[in-house]
Subunit: 437 residues, 4 copies
Amino acid sequence: MSKYKSIDFANDNREKFIAMRRDLHQHPEPGWLEYRTAAMAADRLTALGYDLKVGKEVVKADSRMGLPDEAVMKAAMDRALKEGANPKWVEAMGYGFTGMVATLHFDNKGPTVAFRADIDSNDVMESQDDNHLPVKEGFVSQHAKAMHACGHDAHLTMALGLAEYIATHKDGLHGTFKLILQPAEEGVRGAKSMADAGVVDDVDIFFGMHIGINKDIAGCLACLNNGFLATTKMDVTFKGYSSHAGGSPELGKNALLAACTAALNLQAISRHSKGNSCINVGVLESGTGRNVIPDRAYLQIETRGATGEVNDYICKRAYEVLNGAAAMYENEVEIKEMGSAPACINSEDLAKAVQVIAKDLGIFKDVPLVNEGGGSEDCAYFLERVIGKGGRATYMILGSAIPAPHHNPKFDIDEKDMINGIAFTGALVESYLQGSK
Amino acid sequence: MSKYKSIDFANDNREKFIAMRRDLHQHPEPGWLEYRTAAMAADRLTALGYDLKVGKEVVKADSRMGLPDEAVMKAAMDRALKEGANPKWVEAMGYGFTGMVATLHFDNKGPTVAFRADIDSNDVMESQDDNHLPVKEGFVSQHAKAMHACGHDAHLTMALGLAEYIATHKDGLHGTFKLILQPAEEGVRGAKSMADAGVVDDVDIFFGMHIGINKDIAGCLACLNNGFLATTKMDVTFKGYSSHAGGSPELGKNALLAACTAALNLQAISRHSKGNSCINVGVLESGTGRNVIPDRAYLQIETRGATGEVNDYICKRAYEVLNGAAAMYENEVEIKEMGSAPACINSEDLAKAVQVIAKDLGIFKDVPLVNEGGGSEDCAYFLERVIGKGGRATYMILGSAIPAPHHNPKFDIDEKDMINGIAFTGALVESYLQGSK
Amino acid sequence: MSKYKSIDFANDNREKFIAMRRDLHQHPEPGWLEYRTAAMAADRLTALGYDLKVGKEVVKADSRMGLPDEAVMKAAMDRALKEGANPKWVEAMGYGFTGMVATLHFDNKGPTVAFRADIDSNDVMESQDDNHLPVKEGFVSQHAKAMHACGHDAHLTMALGLAEYIATHKDGLHGTFKLILQPAEEGVRGAKSMADAGVVDDVDIFFGMHIGINKDIAGCLACLNNGFLATTKMDVTFKGYSSHAGGSPELGKNALLAACTAALNLQAISRHSKGNSCINVGVLESGTGRNVIPDRAYLQIETRGATGEVNDYICKRAYEVLNGAAAMYENEVEIKEMGSAPACINSEDLAKAVQVIAKDLGIFKDVPLVNEGGGSEDCAYFLERVIGKGGRATYMILGSAIPAPHHNPKFDIDEKDMINGIAFTGALVESYLQGSK
Amino acid sequence: MSKYKSIDFANDNREKFIAMRRDLHQHPEPGWLEYRTAAMAADRLTALGYDLKVGKEVVKADSRMGLPDEAVMKAAMDRALKEGANPKWVEAMGYGFTGMVATLHFDNKGPTVAFRADIDSNDVMESQDDNHLPVKEGFVSQHAKAMHACGHDAHLTMALGLAEYIATHKDGLHGTFKLILQPAEEGVRGAKSMADAGVVDDVDIFFGMHIGINKDIAGCLACLNNGFLATTKMDVTFKGYSSHAGGSPELGKNALLAACTAALNLQAISRHSKGNSCINVGVLESGTGRNVIPDRAYLQIETRGATGEVNDYICKRAYEVLNGAAAMYENEVEIKEMGSAPACINSEDLAKAVQVIAKDLGIFKDVPLVNEGGGSEDCAYFLERVIGKGGRATYMILGSAIPAPHHNPKFDIDEKDMINGIAFTGALVESYLQGSK
């Protein structure tokens, strides 16, 4: 028996949690459509004695980004019900409110400690290759064009493992434990709506965590990540006027050319002296036929910045470029923000305290401080809000040997690391609820 | 009874030809897939005593452009058979050889007179609106995403009417009559393959004709059209390398930006002093996701020129721009020619002779000489070849009150004009076979 | 002695007119600076008995385009005075009013016949090559960076020859003869101001003429030219904000990139179906140093169109592109119209009447009707105004074997053609003043 | 009397060094033209007993970048001689070899310590404003369009002060002292040629230093600067073919459009994940007239990167873009490298040792470690070479209250800081020659 009960707990329940993760893996649900996923979690958390808030109470309507059409939501609800979701929760979530907060209060006064997990899947068609483990072991995605290719199935499993551990070991604990289950992290669409709803306003200690990221830290626990960039996601539509390209070219208002000159000039936005800035036009689709001047062009764009200031600069410039390009070609332009995240800024003292605990636990190969750059995470909204209100927060990376990059059809995690994740988060949260810190 | 027997013939057979056209309208077949259409024509022409050549004999394989995949052809064959096509002809046409030449020799020596009709349909979904005549009268297209929206159903009907008239009134005629049924005029893909096969090399007098074009000449017969532009159709694919836009932008070879800078610089190709020149990027599709540097871009392009020289200039410059854009972004570029037509140059003396006949016929509101610009017609390949070999050729327009522009889901023709077209072409061809000219 | 007295007159005065042209050639004065040139003409025309109007009376201030700075005008005045200009005329012309109208009324009633000549030189450094005739014969330009490289020295000489012929052969003439000497034709800057001043409002028959144009018509007289295009000349300045390119790129508002994206998108303006349209960015200058984000960019642009409608379309689109590009880069943009001309539309009946006279004269190799395209001429403003008021007008080309193209440092004309020009215009104008037409 | 003799030395010679700097300020000489400047230094250093190497011995011919024309050099030599330069040195330097190394060997064995100063001026017209100190005190630049606007006059003065101090206090010193006077730092054109000549190959301890930089560190001494970026400077010429824009646009090969599309696409080069990357098109000049398709375009470009790898990436991409743009417009392109510098990487241990000495000296407000970003310095070539050969090197910043930014017409330094600089570098170099380190 270990010094840390959470290690034993995790190992003892290994089979159960692996089964849970594999069930989630078979039933991936994209952002804002996580009905079955959330309903399963709600049933378990209720059974464990947690107070539950779901839907509009914990998701601010106006702050949601990148929502699918209602018809798509309806289809997702129907499927979830068919696949066993508790109708009570599906109804409670309604259209586009698939977030949830589970709370457990302890007898003694003390701090509020929160853990956040994201629960949505990717728009990826999972590999059917025989040497892809989910194929070999029979838990490949059952949903077309959807896959847990970013490890959120493991995230939710760890969160539920942590919740169970705390609920079953609550004697002597102080304060409050909050589990935040966030929808629509992919595309950084969901966190803002829960942060704006105030769900972390009373939080003293906040933890977020991601599994995987890169092979170099397999088996390690990184205590913080300052490398995530501020980002904004935009969908842009140019609206011009079509005309026959040979017969009356002068009547056309060419949306394709507006989009092309926008794309080039977006990419040409000046660098910022205060750090990394990026912009990408990831998708451009325009035109209906060879001999027609295109009247519509659709673009998917993202900006990134080392800081919020840098990202704001790129965004402001992007608006100018898009509007200027539209004016050039007598087009109208519609710009919709589909997602966003601030730069991820951690409480370094909290990270260092986490380092001590993680090292002491003895289950990690190494416990570094890492600043892995280039990506973005809307969990940063929670960190920003917690720290803004005087609390402390850190975002950790649970290294795992991933056979393919995130979002790849052959992505997978090592389930051993997920079990370790339960052991670690259990010990971590427990230590902050013991009244001594 | 009229002075012109062809007028009586057309009127007497009115019901039959309208039924024929409506049957074709219900069964539209896109370019290189006209199995049922051509098979029906073959049956009729054979019955009328014509010698028939179909398939590879009259369609030069290497000169075909813009062919669909074999799977698509196979599906079209199967459907044609199901819809009653004579298997003998379907087999004779094989994969991508849906052209046909029907010949009738007369007892007396004389010139070879040819008439060409195009037989393919458009990739347009026909209107289901109640006041669209084909809906109201029950002959709307039965094939999804296909429609005779350019009047080729009427073209074939008139050609078969003409063929019947000549075959049934051949006493005393001189020389030879040739009917050329051309596939894949849409996208200017088919004519070159038949012209290159030599089907008009023995032709002394050549006629092409289009119905509709614009409302201003409804009820008129335009004796020539020099306004059709030389054109080339290209499909272009840029092939780069994808990369994560935030994490490793420097590894990407951005096909989207290569395509955008190509599109702008294609449009910026200098005008030509020798006449109208146009270029259009009608379609641009690139990218798979917002945060991925796109590794593929697909463009549909067309060039046009008042003369072959002008069009050749634009094409040459287009290749330079496309190759330069690819080099800029370390991309490879693949350029496929999908169709082409020369400028349409008519024999003015023939047109003037036609004018005399058409006026004398007394069935047209007016018989102008028109140069309607902006469009293109691959029939120009036949004219070029006939005139190049010493013959004479003209391309006429049979005006008709069209309720919507060509290629529009509500396009239609006035069937009265089609009947007049049979009367007119009957008289016209007959007059050139009477040994006196 | 010829049937035409004007032929004898021209030949008899050959030496005088060649000397006059060579004196003008040695003293070229650019647009709005033609003080010595105009003063010399004024002295002669007064001596011949013409009524003279100069300066503001015949040049509308607000309609002048592309004026040089006052300092430049002052320097030109001073030089003209030093080179012998009559101070009375220099003072009368003042700053930027170097146009002049000379009128001669005859005893009998009759039509008003006008002839217009342009008098300015080009900003070209004349060749010093020994085989350039003005060098060999010692009449090369004495003014740095100025040269009569478009034949306006011959134009004025012919106009004064014509004026002398008419003044010395006025017995029996009817009506009125008007000689219009126009400044600043180069850059199409001057004609509008004289046309707007109403100087041709009473004109029944109007003639303009150019020498040279191309070698093919050397020795010929073209009776009209419908090929001159409508045109607009613009100077454009983008005003941004400079910044250190390495240290604070985000503070810059890049005028160079605004100008570059404008240039590309100007060139990419769609063709017009109603005829030839052109745009050219002839000059782009931007930036002060390699490591500074440029805050200024200066462009010289011209548009052309087969008709005024087409040119207006290109201009309208150009404004949109320029404003859009400025908006894209947070620049201000200043657009100044520096010159313009309408399309040149002639009275065909007048041209055909001219043809008869020119042929009868017997001094031209041929007398074709020509439509030489691509260039522009602001004389078109006079034609437009005369025809608009019910008169007739034509613009002729006096072919001459030019050893180098117009505006080239080695441009020259064949003086024999200039003498013929005097003979021809004398006979032409005389014939329209004889009361019979 | 201070603990540090160099402080007394600097203060005692204050007037002399200020006079020297002001004399240099009045006679600024741009890069590769520093004849008078270097000759004055050579006279002084020889008088102080230094061994001198000048010209080709210390400047590798092939490694020089951005040389002016020989005619410009000849004029600079003539002026230098007229302004009192010793002809012996002017001759020794010859055309484009204005570098110099002065060496002093001491009796005892020990390390080689080197100090580098740059000596060229800027292409800036100095302010004539009364409150600009050089105007007020009468030492404003006497050379048109040249000014010491970057403090290199103070750099050379400090170097000569340091040289004098060491030469006059050499008792008991060990090893060797080397003074490196580098031409053409502006545009990063000169250092490579001296580093490649091997002048620092025997150096154990190397110091470079800049005065000014920014106001925040006025009165401070920064011991290192890792913020200078790797950079490459290029001059680019596109060569096309001109044509009349209205008459024969199709014959033109438009260099202006090639340059514009290059500029946009250069600016659009993807960011690099490994740190700051910049590119700037600082100058673009193209075209000779509004109605002529431009046949030449000239660009001044610079790239920058946080590391050599990043800068190399940008350069490689720039070549691809430039070549691609040329190909697009059938242009030739000529790319000349006009200057370059690697990223500035310091020996941190040496910097920390410097910090101890600088603090102990007691004359600086503060002695921070600074990483001032955005600029570039070709001294980095010396640091790279010294460190590559096993030595240690650091580049320091001597803060000074500058009234206007570097390269501004009102730039100036506070001469008090220059005197402090002599005191500091004297003590610093002395300490490394005392045999104990």
